[in-house]
Symmetry: C2
Subunit: 697 residues, 2 copies
């Protein structure tokens, strides 16, 4: 590199040391080691950089080249680069407020806080897997919207910096194997090979041949042996990565963690704590004579350098805007559709396509079959619906009639064969959503949401409206037994913020589930489906199910009911049968179907109390853990242990979910409170206070 | 193979087809394809088989060579082999009861149901990762207990059959990378390369070079191109695997799914459904003239063959028993310790070593530091305590003073550097526990339990007393922000059956956590630890904390308290401060610390009501999701959204966990019920009925 380039890189390093020192917490080592990579990724092609197109003025420009910092703990680096490129969210004041309450420079990158940050990273392996999703989205959109005259409407590349941790995580192995299979030539990963992890040298746990593994995945692999003393090899490697369009590229860059710190460089001690004030001073004086007393210092020539680099990106964007205006004239429908997709708007009439179940006419079926019907109903109006299953397509029923397979040679297809890779599947969907213009969906057995929990959580945190179709949602899957039967999973997901867990009882409720999922663009939705057939329900209603909970079988006669059966999914029909039997014996029973607690909680208090008065004996019935149901019901029929292998009807009887047991327990509950003199604890008699003092997430 | 061997293999195939057909559900394809592998794994060395030492008479013989069917859906194969080897749990009646309620032949292998089954498999990738744990355990125990005169007290090998799905899952990549690093030469994996997954050809999602990837991991890789027409290549490969003791071996065996089924072999349709009665008949007639009308048929020569094979295992076991008797005489202490370990008994006085916190004398610290003290206190008496962290040793505080590192050249060490591989870490611990003689522990940040959920669930299901040390257990971790701050995780884990979630408030409660964890040998325990310091607590008690919940600050004066603050972990101290402030204003407040709900629920009703009467206004305070707390409290201070990045004290105030807000909300709660005329809903006024009709898990 030129002397100015080295000065730029050293400025980045010193800023990183300053930020962590001022915050008194954070990770200086990786930013200092990775600074040369960031420098080139933020340098224009004319200056020998990656020539990555992006725009501080328009951070959400559709065709920007994405950057993902997969080792999110190095985020000081990302904030510094955004600052040098004049992104407004990363002002100098924000750099100084690193990791503080309310800043736009939190301890790990958060897309919803900081413009210029594409995804939430920090949990290792997620970012690189998100990037695979971004590369898929770009390739797919390009294939569908570019034309021979306009080959670059969507043609962005995705660049990643990642560390050892990201590559040790299984999720990245899953995602990168798939990326190789799909030949994602628009993906370039820079691997910060610093031979250090938190516990010390990689020699203690990570001695595999990473290059060989990535070659085995079908990637182009390039090694850059020394980036501390020269940028040319890295320049050439990035250039090679850009030229290679039929496979993703991994560039292994040998770096030194905490480069420039006389006492800590190359050591794990540089990783996760401030270097210390005197060490920071030494870094600066050692680094080519920077003034050790100046903090947060950016010399004019450095500032000017990065401003110039950004100019090329802005020129590229302006050219793209002009080009897009022409495209719009030549291809008005495509342009409008693309605009609608990036606005996360739905096509007119999507919800009108959703099917209705007519009681007495239609045949009942499994709710997974109903999910298939809904998916196929909306799909023709939703080209943005792209996804698939983790190798369970014919069990999850996620095939879309007429849709093509997304493969290396057919990037226009919308169905993805994720393989048996649940965690990467979810992270890839996060990346696709983040790219824009996409409503990704993915599927597996509900139990195996546990494999993907790390990424599902990030759908919720990062506000990605990913749609999870999770079938085989209870012991009702039968013979596959307890390894496959979810027990705690519904509750595990319900405990998570910003995620809709919907468990529909029939086709009408399934239509509601899809409407909820498609409406909530910033909240992921988990649609839980039965393997086996459910009962036909007389009073089910899409409109009412959209309220999250409603009376699906009213009590007979006037006045408060004697008993409420509160249920979800495949157990609702059994509760209806039980209620009818009870009502014949003068226990006036209401059945409430509650497909989505989260949505029910958003209704008015008056509505909620009209459905669940709180002081009427209430028995909840769900073939899952009883855990959270204590909130809603006085007594529970649920799973208090793991399931077992056997035909589902036998299991439903064994575990008490048959109508007969429900009726018997309902009667017992009513008598219990009669014996207590009718004193039913009012579950709604609770003060409502929200502990959080400040704006919501 | 000889004609008899081929007859044996075809008998296995026909039995598998019969079992699935009779059960009317299951997976015939993999057993039919893998039958030749199973045949050799169940054949004696003298017959050209693997010479795997195991014993139907003594299925838990310590030094048996383990077998893991990682593609657990192929379990018909395992049950058939156990039947042919005369394991009592797999009688012919049991084969006929495949996948039925109450049988010992469930839909996927369950170690706690069927002797001869080592681990629960079915969730893909788990079995092969468990096997890595078994290989670690064997190597470690051998290094510590074998002597020059007795080199084979513990010297078992672990054999695995796995399929494409297992190798696609990220967990297996993590585990196998570590296995290569550790040079586990006692591990031999047979990969059923049938080029089919559920969704069809592996061409649609899995085209990586598996052999090259495993070579990159440092494994020996051998390819067997055709096992359908000859066994010799596979024999030679297994022999090579046995000979290679410095690295694990992967044998890629080209097979045909559903081999022998004229219409389904080689197709995904052979995978997960019965072949159909007529197809089963065709299989039999096609397979070398078996009688198509005979079901569940084992010809005498076949039965005799496998009986003979077992004889060698029994001879080996008898020789081992004799040898062990000599070893016992020569090394009485080692022998006694080994016996104690395999009996899962604790050394005398282990609990006496646990530290006590003396209020007014000792300095408060973080509970992760207290965990370190407890771990180090018990470790000298517990050589069976083996484990480590997923690259967060100095954050999780899981180093044990004086303990060596378990590495290729130092297998006697007890500390494992798992690398950034949470999911495999948990599965490896499951495998180590399953091996016997081990009490594995592992550690990461509580939030990243989400990465390991698939395997943690199997600790619970398979009844493995694995100890999870999960630090940074709330927003109290501070600046790392919401990607690292658990919110839902405590609740997600509490919803799971058979797992103890313990969140201690101080050192005394931490000692209780360790005592609970060590006592519960068939239940995993998650010990949740704070990053930051907690308050010194005057009335904390290990003995009382062992009850799961207890009064840590009694109310002032006589009669029922006006208010109960119910809390856990780092929030208990804040509740104590709040209670003292409230009591000064005549609100007589009790503080209940509830480190473990699961253990509290095991106490007598009288005890539980004495602590939590149910009709006293109760406010729960936990820096996690409020979800399940509705069961225990009238109002909650908890997390209703994700956290944020910032110094922890600021966050605790922001989210309402400071003593001041707790006191204010407590007062509000008391007034709320005063305004309702003192009518406090009794949360304990619920009938107790258990839905499950039958024996517990
Ligand atoms: Ca590293
Ligand atoms: Ca396969």
């Amino acid at each position: 590199g030129t002397p100015l380039e080295l000065k730029c890189i050293n400025t980045i390093r010193a800023l990183a040391a300053d930020m962590v020192q001022k915050a008194n917490s954070g990770h200086p080592g990786a930013p200092m080691g990775c600074a040369p990579m960031a420098h080139l990724l933020w340098s224009a092609a004319s200056a020998g950089g990656a020539g990555r197109n992006h725009s501080a003025a328009c951070p959400h420009w559709w065709n920007r080249d994405r950057f993902v910092l997969s080792n999110g703990h190095a985020c000081a680096l990302q904030y510094i680069m955004l600052h040098l490129s004049e992104y407004e969210d990363c002002s100098m004041d924000q750099l100084k407020a690193f990791r503080q309450v309310g800043s736009k420079t939190p301890g790990h990158p958060e897309n919803f806080l900081t413009k210029g940050v594409e995804v939430c990273t920090g949990p290792l392996g997620q970012g690189i897997s998100n990037a695979v999703g971004m590369a898929i989205a770009a390739k797919h959109l390009g294939a569908n919207y570019n034309t021979p005259d306009f080959p670059d409407i969507i043609s962005s590349k995705t660049y990643v910096i990642c560390g050892d941790g990201c590559l040790q995580e299984g999720i990245s192995g899953e995602a990168c194997s798939l990326a190789g299979h799909l030949g994602l030539g628009n993906l370039i990963v820079l691997y910060d090979d610093n031979q250090i992890t938190i516990d010390g040298s990689t020699e203690i746990s990570f001695t595999e041949d990473v290059n060989k593994r990535y070659e085995a995945y079908g990637w182009q692999v390039i090694t850059v042996d020394d980036v501390a003393n020269g940028l040319d090899d890295l320049r050439a490697a990035i250039e090679e990565g850009k030229k290679t369009t039929d496979k993703p590229t991994l560039i292994k860059v040998r770096t030194i963690i905490g480069y420039g710190s006389p006492n800590k460089q190359g050591k794990a001690s540089a990783h996760g704590a401030p270097l210390g004030a005197s060490e920071v001073e030494m870094v600066k004086s050692r680094l080519y004579g920077m003034d050790p007393m100046k903090s947060f210092f950016i010399d004019e020539d450095v500032a000017e350098y990065y401003k110039q680099q950004m100019a090329e990106g802005e020129i590229a964007r302006a050219a793209w805007e002009e080009n897009f205006a022409k495209y719009k004239k030549a291809n008005p429908e495509k342009a409008a559709e693309l605009q609608r997709r990036f606005n996360l708007e739905l096509a007119d009439g999507v919800f009108d396509t959703l099917p209705t179940f007519v009681y007495g006419k239609d045949k009942a079926d499994s709710t997974r079959k109903f999910s298939e019907m809904c998916l196929n109903a909306v799909a023709p109006k939703m080209p943005e619906l792209m996804g698939g299953s983790a190798d369970l397509t014919d069990s999850n029923y996620t095939a879309i009639k007429g849709a093509g397979s997304f493969q290396k040679g057919t990037p226009e297809g919308t169905l993805i064969s994720f393989g048996v890779r649940e965690h990467a599947m979810s992270a890839i969907c996060n990346g696709m959503f983040s790219y824009g213009g996409m409503r990704p969906f993915c599927a597996t057995f509900l139990q195996f949401a546990g494999y993907a929990m790390g990424a599902i959580r990030l759908s919720a945190l990062a506000k990605y409206g990913v749609i999870y179709i999770m079938t085989h949602d209870s012991i009702g899957l039968g013979e596959d037994g307890p390894t496959h039967q979810p027990v705690e999973m519904l509750e595990s997901l319900r405990a998570m913020p910003n995620i809709n867990v919907v468990r529909p009882a029939d086709l009408n409720e399934m239509a509601a589930a899809y409407q909820i999922a498609l409406t909530c663009v910033n909240t992921p939705t988990v649609i839980c489906c039965s393997r086996a057939g459910v009962s036909a329900l007389e009073h089910s209603s899409r409109e009412m199910a959209m309220k999250g909970g409603y009376t699906i079988l009213p009590e007979v006669g006037e006045g408060a009911p004697d008993l409420i059966l509160l249920s979800t999914g495949s157990e609702v029909g059994r509760c209806v049968d039980a209620a009818k039997a009870l009502s014949e014996h003068s226990i006036r029973t209401r059945v409430v179907s509650m497909p989505c607690q989260e949505i029910f909680l958003e209704q008015s208090e008056a509505y909620r109390r009209s459905i669940l008065p709180g002081n009427v004996p209430t028995l909840s019935v769900e073939a899952g853990a009883e855990h959270g149901w204590y909130r809603w019901s006085h007594a529970q029929i649920g799973m208090t242990r793991f399931g077992m292998s056997g035909p589902l009807e036998q299991l439903f009887v064994k575990f008490g979910f048959d109508a007969e047991n429900v009726a018997s327990k309902g009667k017992e509950l009513v008598e219990f409170y009669k014996n207590l003199g009718g004193n039913v604890p009012d579950l709604n008699a609770r003060p409502s206070f929200d502990s959080f003092k400040g704006p919501a997430h």
